[in-house]
């Protein structure tokens, strides 16, 4: 191969390699992530500290998010059994009120935006959900309407975000051991 072509290949390969490294750093690595059942949260979101890797990760995954004492954001892309969430299945969100001033659970599509649909039932929250015995609640996540307390999703994959506004101090200090709703798969089409 001509030296000029080798040089060109080195430049193109170097640029591609550098971009791939950055992509892997931001999308394949999990900085400060802790798990609580099917829910994950990053201790880094809302923080201005850390090195360039952490700052890049937070910019992409936690843009305009608040710090942990103000709001905790938990995400789930799998159910409590470890299977990926899919609009082909029906799920029950079961639990008690998380310890926070206010909470909500919202469904998002793979593009990280709200899921289009005629029902416009994007979320359930502390003030919208019905309580059963002893303060327990059950909400349904599905494509088709099952009744009250419903989050509508499409046919494809989706994820859920649980927001805790002004969480109790114990939850903010140890978000991996908070009492959070289970995501139970009921049936699939």
């Amino acid at each position: 191969m001509h030296p000029a072509l080798k040089s060109l290949a080195a430049v193109i390969g170097g640029i591609a390699g550098g971009l791939a490294l950055t992509w892997a750093s931001v999308f394949a690595m999990h900085f400060g992530t802790v798990r609580d059942g099917p829910w994950e949260t990053s201790l880094a979101v809302g923080s201005a500290s850390g090195g360039p890797y952490l700052r890049a990760w937070v910019a992409v995954h936690g843009l305009l998010a608040l710090n942990r004492s103000e709001t905790i954001y938990y995400n789930a892309s799998r159910d409590s059994g470890g299977e990926r969430l899919s609009g082909r299945c029906v799920y029950s969100l079961m639990g008690r009120d998380p310890k926070a001033r206010w909470w909500s659970i919202t469904a998002y599509g793979p593009d990280d935006f709200l899921i289009a649909g005629p029902a416009r039932r994007y979320s359930v929250s502390k003030t919208s959900i019905l309580r059963r015995g002893e303060g327990n609640f059950i909400a349904t996540v599905s494509r088709d309407k099952p009744g009250a307390d419903w989050i509508a999703v499409g046919d494809g994959p989706f994820s859920l975000t649980l927001r805790l506004y002004e969480p109790d101090a114990g939850v903010a200090a140890d978000p991996a051991h908070a009492e959070l709703p289970q995501i139970v798969k009921e049936r699939c089409r």
Binding site: I15, G17, L21, T22, Y53, A56
Partner: protein, 185 residues
Amino acid sequence: MKAFLARNGIYFAAAAAIALGVHAATLFMLPHFVMVQALAKITQGGGYNVVRPIARADEHARTVVRPSPDLLYSTCPFDLSKGALQVQATVPPGTYWSVSVFDADTNNIFVENDRQAKDGKVDFVVLPPSSGPLGKAWVGPPRTAIRSPSVRGLVLFRTLINDESRLAEIDAARRNVTCGVYSNP
């Protein structure tokens, strides 16, 4: 293989050096790039240093990922090149409310919520990063001052819709905010 590497080692070394340089540069610039993109979307059809009440998020909201449909957002993208920014707000009663400030690298440099606001009012000044005359704007109690590390950034107001029957009232109350270039008294 050894002969191949011996003949082309310098090219592999150059490619590795370029890869490290590109990686470092893109990693360093990424937060700024993300915020520039967000500010470009937010300031469409308007400018800086004015409050924009955003419509309630639905499936058509495409400005910032994972918007909450239970919040009413208002934004004030700021540009401190002409001076400090003054933010004043009356907190909507009976619900969660917060104001937060983000610099051009997406860092959350300030937050205050409805329970922290004294007498239901918020009044603060965002100072530019320079230590020159623009950075010496007079600020006195009870007004607080925040030094922004960047000339541009974003003030974000969140108001919780904790009761759908109060939506119109909450929407009206969240508009009691002003944001503009600070006039030194």
